[in-house]
């Protein structure tokens, strides 16, 4: 990343892209006095929301009533295909209301989060789902696709036999996953829906669809003794506001029966806990309370702000301070994402604590064996030497003495420098003629000395991964994770998207990345060129 003072452009930048020169100043005010600033794009928030709902089996919300039990508005009844009309009286059927495909539909943050009038945020991507006094709290709109379905029972002898032999319980995770289309009825889908004690298989026919918005309160979560923080969602008071192009949907859901079904469908969501909006930021990964206590990690104090970047996109920013620090100024926090999905800025202090914890877990007792050239004295005159080879083992101590950001020459960016101890032991020694020296004398005594490991995340030169000792490469990957993935939940990222900077002067490191998408898996076709044919 070019330094601030060189990013001077010219008029021709209008014609030719100015690249990074026009980007926001990288190191300036990145942390705004905080120890950690983590920022999330809407895409990343959406991914985490969907993932969290799916993990809690809330990605599909459903409720049903026996067909005919609830009066249907004429518009909805008219949507039932004629070929079913007769069957519905003979076979068992159900009317189902289902909410599927949850997604992040809007973020509403009060203006006074920053403590100033006219702060950078009150933003939404959609109309609010329910009236709530602006400024009371942060709310999130979760959008759903609403289906009004007709379920018809299908007798499955094989399934009956299997269920009978295994005791008849519902299969794990069996909540409404479409499996296969049936014949020439593309909208009729066989499902493996089960309700308690129900061992029948159902065919689903979607009669009409709409959209629903459910609101949730967003709250910062800072679990005691776990050295992490995030943002969770509370759906306790949520209701669904449904809209649809098909009047039958809104008409039905406005009836008492429709309301009841919708409320039943929402019930699991309302009683849920632990749904997350943002990835949990954990600078040292998932830690037990005992580990946090052992390392005396100071707790985080966290604040949040919703920003709008230069392109008008929303950026959720979680800003944390360690212990009793109070230097953070929320109104100075700026969007760091650029075109990316996640940004993590951390102070030297946080990185130091994180690396010390991770070092103990990843590097303690790790040993490496290798050979190095040495100048061997020959005879009694210490001035006279010949080249020899020494095979030595290195064992890293399990504690780090110091972690610091160090300036580097050559404009390759600064490094996170880990300083610890290592124990060296001479295993074998060969002279310049390749003869093994058996009497090592006091050289055979193990020796402890300083161990330096510079980590420059953005370095593309130097030793390549395949040149590294495999154990050492594994260790480096674990240490890199402290910088790149300071989160509890994993994310699939585009490897080439990792960017950021490290500033020794600012004592700050920033890492950004972009989520991997389906486009990353698309390979261009092999181009048949004239040259190749020739």
């Amino acid at each position: 990343m070019p330094p601030v003072a060189t990013r001077i452009g010219s008029i021709s930048d209008v014609l030719v892209g100015a690249g990074d020169r026009l980007a926001p100043d990288p190191p300036v005010d990145t942390l705004a006095g905080f120890d950690v600033v983590a920022q999330f794009s809407q895409a990343l928030l959406n991914q985490q929301l969907v993932r969290s709902l799916a993990y809690r089996r809330l990605a599909t919300l459903t409720a049903y009533a026996p067909w005919g039990m609830l009066p249907l508005p004429a518009g909805l009844a008219a949507l039932v295909p004629r070929r079913f009309a007769l069957g519905l009286t003979a076979a068992e059927a159900r009317l189902e209301v289902r909410l599927v495909q949850p997604h992040l539909a809007g973020l509403h943050w009060p203006a006074d989060v920053t403590g100033i009038d006219g702060g950078p945020v009150v933003a939404t991507t959609r109309r609010r789902a329910r009236p709530r006094a602006l400024g009371r709290g942060r709310t999130v709109d979760v959008g759903w696709s609403v289906e009004v379905n007709l379920l018809t029972s299908r007798l499955d002898m094989g399934l009956l036999a299997r269920t009978a032999s295994t005791g008849g319980g519902p299969p794990a995770g069996g909540s409404g996953r479409p499996q296969a289309e049936i014949g020439d009825l593309p909208d009729l889908v066989a499902t493996d829906d089960f309700s308690a004690g129900d061992n029948r298989k159902w065919d689903r026919l979607t009669l009409a669809t709409g959209r629903a918005i459910t609101g949730a309160d967003a709250t910062l979560t800072v679990p005691a003794g776990q050295w992490r923080f995030g943002m969770g969602l509370d759906f306790a008071d949520t209701v669904a506001v449904v809209t649809s192009d098909a009047a039958a949907v809104t008409e039905f859901l406005a009836t008492d029966g429709g309301k009841t079904l919708l409320a039943q469908a929402l019930a699991p969501l309302r009683t849920s806990s632990g749904v997350r909006l943002a990835l949990d930021v954990a600078p040292a990964g998932a830690l037990s309370a005992a580990t946090v206590q052992h390392f005396a990690l100071p707790p985080f104090t966290v604040r949040d702000i919703l920003l709008t970047d230069q392109r008008g996109r929303l950026v959720l920013s979680l800003c944390a301070q360690l212990g009793t620090s109070t230097g953070g100024v929320l109104r100075l926090v700026r969007p760091l994402l650029g075109r990316q999905d996640f940004a993590y800025a951390a102070s030297e202090r946080v990185l130091g604590l994180a690396f010390k914890v991770c070092w103990k877990r990843a590097a303690g007792g790790l040993s490496f064996v290798g050979e190095v050239p040495v100048d061997l004295p020959v005879g009694d005159d210490p001035e006279i030497t010949r080249p020899g080879r020494a095979q030595i083992s290195i064992v890293f101590n399990d504690t780090l003495d110091d972690v610091a950001l160090k300036a580097m020459p050559e404009s390759r960016g600064d490094v996170v420098r880990l300083l610890g101890r290592q124990r060296l032991k001479l295993l074998n020694l060969w002279d310049y003629q390749g003869r093994r020296i058996t009497d090592l004398g006091e050289w055979a005594d193990p020796h402890d000395e300083a161990m330096v490991l510079p980590l420059n995340l953005f370095e593309t030169g130097g030793a390549r991964p395949d040149e590294l000792n495999p154990n050492f490469r594994d260790l480096l990957l674990k240490l890199m994770a402290v910088l790149v993935f300071p989160t509890i939940q994993p994310s699939a990222i585009r490897a080439g998207s990792i960017s950021g900077f490290c500033s020794a002067a600012r004592k700050t490191m920033l890492v950004c990345w972009t989520l991997r998408t389906w486009q990353d898996d698309v390979r261009p076709p092999i181009v048949d060129t004239v040259a190749e044919r020739v």
Binding site: P3, A5, T6, I8, V28, R51, S52, Y55, G274, D280, A282, G285, A286, S288, D375, P382, E383, T385, I392, K406, A407, M408, P409, E410, R412, D414, L419, L424, L426, E442, W443, P446, H447, A450, V452, L453, P454, L457, F458, E459, T460, G462, A463, R464, P465, R473, D474, L476, L477, K478, M480, A481, V484, I488, Q489, P490, A495, G496, A504, A505
Partner: protein, 377 residues
């Protein structure tokens, strides 16, 4: 009683005179061969770049004062300071590169052993001497100053050095027959001490064995701009520091300081207060130490190889004294900075960004959590 009388007499004669008296009287050449052409070329580079660095130090102080006076300065002011700093960094790279090449030659001449033996005899006769006294005697003599100006130590530099030495508490003593440097650090009762080695000795342990010839490794890294991370680290158990070690440590430390200075300007602009900037007292001392060592080596080389103009005896003594002052100064800087001792660490750069795909692929494999963040173990 006899020794006391002798020591008292010695003090009256002054350090330079006592040092001259302790000089071995043997025939030229005393020293091993040096490639005079490359030595002279490197000397020219070192002298020119040292002058540039001293000029930069003056400019920086003036720019700081100007910024403080004006309260607010335009961006172009900061850009200009940064441009000057980068030029100074290039000058320093050239200076240390030339200096290490010169020292690499001197390492093979026996100069270190001869000069330290002479100094040890002086200390035995005269008793401990502090570096301020040594420098004051040289800087206070017009004849010496004129001669040294001819070797690149200008009046401005002399003044800057005098100012730097005034704040340095470092004394050379003789301990168990070896020259050692002592300095007092605020808050500590006992002085910190570093012994100076006079020449090669058999490697005492594994660390000694692995560190032999590390000077050449550092010199090569500087000369070839190798992709390595060089850093001074604490090192316990080192019994004595050879002059080559001190010069290599000095070169590594001064480059690190200059890098910090430039990066700080890039990221935060010029600090109004000198104390907030890595380009400070320590960096100035290190440059002075390296420069005096080089000038002293050049004079000693000329004295040992009288070609067209024979060097006066007193100048040869002053040259040797400069060498000693340089070693004391460098040693003092490192024992102030490192309680137990210092060594340099050389670590090859690693292309971490080349491992981005590895970590993207492996992340889910080696992290111990489930999707909700509950540790699995």
């Amino acid at each position: 009683m006899m020794a006391k009388t002798k020591r008292r007499t010695g003090r009256k004669t002054g350090f330079v005179a006592a040092f001259a008296k302790a000089r071995a009287r043997d025939a030229h050449p005393h020293l091993g061969p040096i490639n005079a052409a490359s030595f002279a070329a490197d000397r020219g580079v070192a002298v020119a770049k040292a002058a540039n660095l001293f000029a930069y130090q003056k400019y920086l102080a003036a720019a700081r004062a100007d910024k403080a006076r004006r309260k607010r300065v335009p961006e172009s002011f900061e850009r200009n300071v940064l441009a000057q700093a980068r030029q100074a960094r290039d000058d320093l790279d050239a200076f240390t590169g030339a200096g290490l090449r010169m020292i690499q030659q001197v390492n093979q001449t026996g100069l270190w052993g001869r000069t330290q033996a002479q100094f040890a005899r002086t200390l035995r006769d005269r008793g401990p001497v502090d570096v301020r006294t040594m420098w004051a005697e040289i800087a206070g003599n017009a004849q010496y100053r004129t001669a040294l100006a001819g070797h690149g130590i200008s009046a401005d530099m002399t003044a800057a050095m005098t100012e730097a030495f005034a704040t340095l508490d470092a004394t050379a003593v003789l301990r168990n027959g070896k020259v050692a440097v002592e300095t007092r650090v605020a808050g500590e009762r006992a002085p910190r001490r570093m012994a100076l080695g006079a020449g090669a000795s058999p490697p005492a342990g594994l660390s000694d064995l692995l560190r032999r010839s590390q000077f050449d490794r550092v010199a090569a890294a500087f000369a070839n701009k190798e992709p390595v991370h060089l850093e001074i680290v604490p090192a316990a158990g080192l019994t004595a520091y050879e002059p080559a070690d001190l010069f290599a440590l000095g070169a590594v430390a001064v480059r690190q300081r200059m890098t910090e200075h430039v990066r700080k300007l890039e990221d935060t602009g010029l600090a109004i207060y000198e104390g907030n900037d890595p380009f400070s007292f320590t960096l100035a001392l290190l440059v002075i130490g390296l420069f005096l060592g080089l000038v002293g080596s050049v004079i000693q080389h000329l004295c040992d190889n009288p070609t067209e103009v024979e060097q006066p005896e007193w100048l040869c003594t002053v040259g040797a004294a400069l060498l000693i002052i340089a070693l004391i100064l460098l040693a003092a800087v490192f024992i102030i900075g490192f309680l137990e001792g210092a060594a340099f660490s050389i670590v090859a750069w690693i292309g971490l960004m080349l491992m981005a795909q590895y970590i993207a692929d492996a992340y889910a494999h080696f992290t111990s959590f489930n999707v909700e963040g509950v540790p699995s173990s």
